[in-house]
């Protein structure tokens, strides 16, 4: 008996410890430099942005196996999946579509080419910087890395039908909607830890630096009394107000729409009441987010946003002493009839001793191309 118990204990230890598979922590996905694939180069030679993106999306789909394609391709009416984007790490909030980690190098190259074609140079630099920021975090903690980002192709990409490209992961969500031939590139969430520039594999990246600086520059340009009128007193901000969580997996934008301030909550300094130089700073700040896309897409958006300046507010919140990039809870926003941009300073999560940025860019009427 004694002996059999001992044997059992051994068995126990042996069985109890049966292996442990490692999680595929973000192998680095390269997205620097020129287009990777010939197919993408051919797509880039097309004349309209719509044609280019549809072509590159199909080129990506063509590289996939049948089962990968099933995961990557979503129906336009699959609103639940279409609302699966977030700021949180992907283990906590899985993203829609196909994760880069498990697919072939050819498919990964085609995915990155698609992004490069869909975004402007500025946008591509942002994506690359954010992917690298996660690789950088991945050196400190498992569960972060550029291969953990996902791409989804919603609908059938073509010049004559509606479709959407979703790309995102931790601190990143691009939802690029093509509806009726027009381009609706929101909701868009960008954040970064670290928020400052950083080095990775010998190169320097700064995906959020100019965005933060542009928002703070507006505040800096205001006089003391203007700052007071733009202050959101009595309110605290632990994150952006119209957060990704309002949408995640809900299949409707009702919650997020209801979170835009109305009535007495809608306050700040009217952009139309600003001086020319102050107003120019607002335009520069909006461009940081809206010009993530090529001019063909961004020009009409910017024109619409500037046209709405007489109903567009700049506001800030957090400690009454003023917003500070190193103080969590500092908050800056631009709130127009369509454009909605928030930047909030949050405490460090992985890099504990320093703050990081969350930002969101929404279009009150254009999110998801107005489809849900």
């Amino acid at each position: 008996m004694d002996r059999s118990f001992r044997k059992l204990l051994m068995l126990c230890v042996a069985a109890g410890c049966g292996g442990s598979s490692a999680t595929p922590d973000g192998a680095i996905i390269s997205s620097d430099g020129a287009l990777n694939t010939d197919a993408a180069k051919a797509c880039a030679a097309k004349t309209t942005q719509l044609a280019k993106v549809a072509c590159a999306a199909n080129a990506f789909l063509d590289t996939l196996s049948t089962s990968e394609r099933t995961t990557a391709a979503l129906a336009l009416t699959d609103y639940v999946s279409r609302s699966k984007w977030n700021n949180l790490p992907v283990q906590m909030k899985p993203r829609a579509g196909l994760q880069l980690a498990g697919i072939s190098a050819t498919s990964q190259a085609a995915a990155l080419d698609l992004l490069q074609i869909a975004l402007s140079e500025k946008g591509h630099a942002t994506v690359t910087g954010l992917l690298r920021a996660d690789d950088y975090l991945g050196t400190m903690q498992s569960g972060y890395g550029s291969s953990l980002y996902s791409l989804a192709i919603v609908g059938t990409p073509s010049e004559s039908s509606d479709f959407e490209i979703m790309f995102g992961g931790h601190h990143m969500a691009y939802n690029l909607n093509f509806v009726g031939g027009a381009f609706f590139p929101t909701p868009q969430h960008l954040g970064a830890e670290p928020k400052a520039s950083f080095e990775f594999n010998g190169a320097t990246y700064a995906p959020m630096v100019s965005k933060g600086a542009a928002m703070f520059a507006i505040y800096e340009a205001l006089s003391a009394s203007e700052r007071t009128s733009a202050y959101l007193s009595g309110q605290s901000f632990n994150d952006v107000v119209v957060t990704p969580d309002m949408d995640y997996g809900k299949g409707q934008s009702r919650s997020s729409k209801s979170a835009y301030p109305t009535g007495s909550n809608r306050k700040g300094m009217l952009v139309s009441a600003m001086s020319d130089s102050q107003r120019a700073l607002v335009t520069v700040a909006i461009e940081e987010w809206a010009r993530q896309y090529p001019a063909e897409v961004a020009d009409p958006l910017m024109a619409a946003y500037v046209a709405g300046y007489d109903d567009t507010y700049f506001a800030w919140g957090g400690a009454a002493a003023g917003p500070n990039a190193d103080t969590s809870g500092s908050y800056l926003r631009i709130d127009g009839p369509r454009v909605w941009i928030e930047l909030v300073v949050q405490g460090g999560i992985i890099i504990r001793n320093t703050t990081h940025y969350h930002s969101i860019y929404r279009d009150k009427t254009g999110d998801y191309g107005g489809q849900f």
Partner: protein, 424 residues
Amino acid sequence: MRPRIIVLTGLLLAALLCRVPAAFAHDVKGSLGYVDIGSDTLQIEWQLPVDELAPVFGWHSLVDAQRAVASPDFTNYIAAHLRITTPQGTPFAVTIERATTQEHDDAWWVRVVTTAHGPAAASPRQATITTDIITHQVVSHHISLFLRHDFDAGHVGELTFLDTLHYQRTSLQLDRAAGSWWRGFAAMVRVGARHIADGRDHLLFLLTLLGPVTLVARRRRWEPTKPLRATVKDIVGVVTAFTLGHSLSLFACALGIVALPSRLVEALIAASIIVAAVHTLTPLFPRRESAIALAFGFIHGFGFASALEGIGFEGHTLILTVVAFNIGVELMQLGIVAVLLPALALGLRSPIGSVLRSTLGVVAASAGCVWLVNRASGGAVAGQAARWLDAAIAHGWLFGLVLYAVAAMALLQRRVTSVLESGQ
């Protein structure tokens, strides 16, 4: 090497090889509200992130939070920011349980349970929940409300998203169609049955314990000579004792009379499987299986009760819930025993019975060991092995097939032997 050293080395190796899962840090979270509709109460379990409450109360540390949450001021804060009324605006009486802080999902949360009783003739199925907990100040905060239980609608445990509340949307209309207690009762029977079908540890224990009941212990060995009548009597005894044991603790636990830490209960359940498995290999407690079944049944009952944890019902809804759940547990248990036991008994009495018995013993012991190590370590150790085990046991019907094949062979062999013998 001396056996003790082997064991120690093994344990050391186990500790080295087994990976501790990495914790994921995360950003700010919204609050959660789980709504449970009983026959006459509307209970909500609130999970409020400490980080989000901090700016409201000016907390600077977890200690600040824990001290504040324990004081009546916190309960008063919840009371001041929560209002539940009939659709016509008549208020429900809301009682608030003392709040506690707890850590889960890699964050600290305040858990508080509010129970609302409507005015006479008001149904908790039609109510307006108005709250601006946290959101009156933290405008980035949001509260996601989920329906968790609706007894009369037969909706138990599954989360249904209701709505997100925030600084500009502070009210939720609850409008649930009328149901009946019977729907809830039937749903709970199904939950109980499913709990057994999924909770393979309970079944494995019972089957392992029942196997040797069909045999007779002689000189510390099992021998297949037990008469049928005695076998049936003993099986009924064991099953009844197990039922009695788990019913007792299930009721005691569900009604809040006794409580045991779930980690301890889960580990004890695993240990019970190991004991039963060893008993299969070599008689530990022959003819006292019923007493063992009673004692371990009592432990397993606490495990069943965990399925009812936070069910959010009171009074007669709670009693109905527990009774129905127990009936479901019992039905599924008896069903599976009735299907598998005849084959098991036949197989164990066949010439390859001892091989079958050792296999059952070793397999059950290994499973018990994996669970024991995994559960006692709070899931930190042997997680992969436990997942493999679950995956393997998910194909438990294969075990049944093998058992029936063995039994069929045993019958056939006996038939052939008797034909040969009568021919001689």
